[in-house]
Symmetry: C2
Subunit: 220 residues, 2 copies
């Protein structure tokens, strides 16, 4: 019981901070996306493909979360986009307090889109609200079509699922329909995208959805 109480305390402290961040993002008209997945599902590659198409139209910032290395922030900076790397050390997820601190690096008054690429982990980041407008979860075709069933908590809190690495479909045992069925069984409103960063499949469709969300936040 002690463990559960402490966990609740940590989560409730995080929610308060996340709510304050959400207010701030609303005031500034910044759309905030929390991108989550297993390690190696292709989150950074998706960002590279997506942001290349959006960076001339919108002011974008990226926060990268990893236990170690600033590999991902470096990749984003190569696109000419501001990226801040959080190294969690041993921690398995990002928390709202870390995001709050990172915001010192950005000019929110001149920002349309903030993307938070979470630590690669299909479990823990589902419990930590970062003040985002939505979570988007990436599952790659090499991970198996039963992943939504095995990791339902992440599907439950996500607004969209990107099934990535469709270029590898012919080489792996992955039934896309089954994957979508599992996911929609948990979250019927889940928006589904199918992408490949190698062939470019689906990137425009996904980018349009993101652009609409940015526009909608700007107007509100």
């Amino acid at each position: 019981m002690e463990k559960i109480n402490i966990e609740e305390k940590i989560l409730s402290k995080n929610i308060k901070k996340a709510d304050a961040l959400r207010e701030l993002f609303k005031e500034k008209g910044v759309f905030v996306l929390n991108l989550v997945s297993s390690p190696g599902s292709g989150k950074t590659s998706i960002l590279e493909s997506t942001l290349t198409g959006l960076k001339d139209k919108y002011n974008i910032g990226v926060i990268e979360g990893d236990l170690q290395t600033d590999n991902d922030a470096k990749r984003i900076r190569k696109l000419g986009i501001k990226a801040h790397q959080i190294n969690t050390g041993g921690a398995c997820h990002l928390e709202a307090s870390g995001i709050e601190k990172s915001l010192e690096q950005f000019d929110l008054d001149n920002m349309d889109l903030l993307i938070i690429e979470n630590v690669g982990n299909l479990v823990c980041p589902s419990s930590f609200d970062l003040g985002e407008d939505c979570k988007v979860v990436v599952i790659s075709t090499t991970e198996g079509d039963d992943k939504p069933a095995k990791y339902p908590s992440m599907i439950r809190v996500s607004s969209a699922l990107i099934i990535n690495k469709t270029d590898l479909l012919e080489h792996v045992d992955f039934n896309t329909e089954e994957c979508i069925k599992y996911a929609k069984g948990i979250q019927p409103d889940l928006k589904i995208f199918q992408t490949s960063c190698k062939t470019g499949e689906g990137i425009k469709h996904w980018s349009s959805w993101l652009a609409e969300a940015i526009e909608s936040k700007r107007k509100s």
Copy 2:
């Protein structure tokens, strides 16, 4: 500080239980492997390939850890091997107390090898000792060669690294030498295996290593 103290308390309670399990496994001469990886790296497929070759020679039991579903236990049972599924609900790793409870399902007096397939998570299971003889970490070629650098804590506690899905090497950007270099930089004694459950590459080599470990535990 409170959070850290409570974490330490949980970990120290877990270590005590894990030490007791280790004593029990030693007394019974059971070699215990804790298999860890990201979701979808192919842990269950590796077990299917490996145990098919070992099941006639050794008495084997498998504990499967997942948030939800008993898909993996069902796959193992199809081989005629006893498997017990632990569903953690929301929890991101297995703990020694859960293993202790699962052992009621097995006859340790007539067992040579117990494999614990942990929850798919490249972070949290690194902190939880389950009384095992060793942790073996699986990274698949689709996850990117920098994973050891990004998730060093798991490499640090592992005795062996299995680089899986080598059949996909020609379709992905994965530099095997780089991956091994990163991993050995963290844990110089790490034993490396390269496997494909599709072509069978490396399965014999890995199985021989496991068989030697079982024999060595029996004799000790």
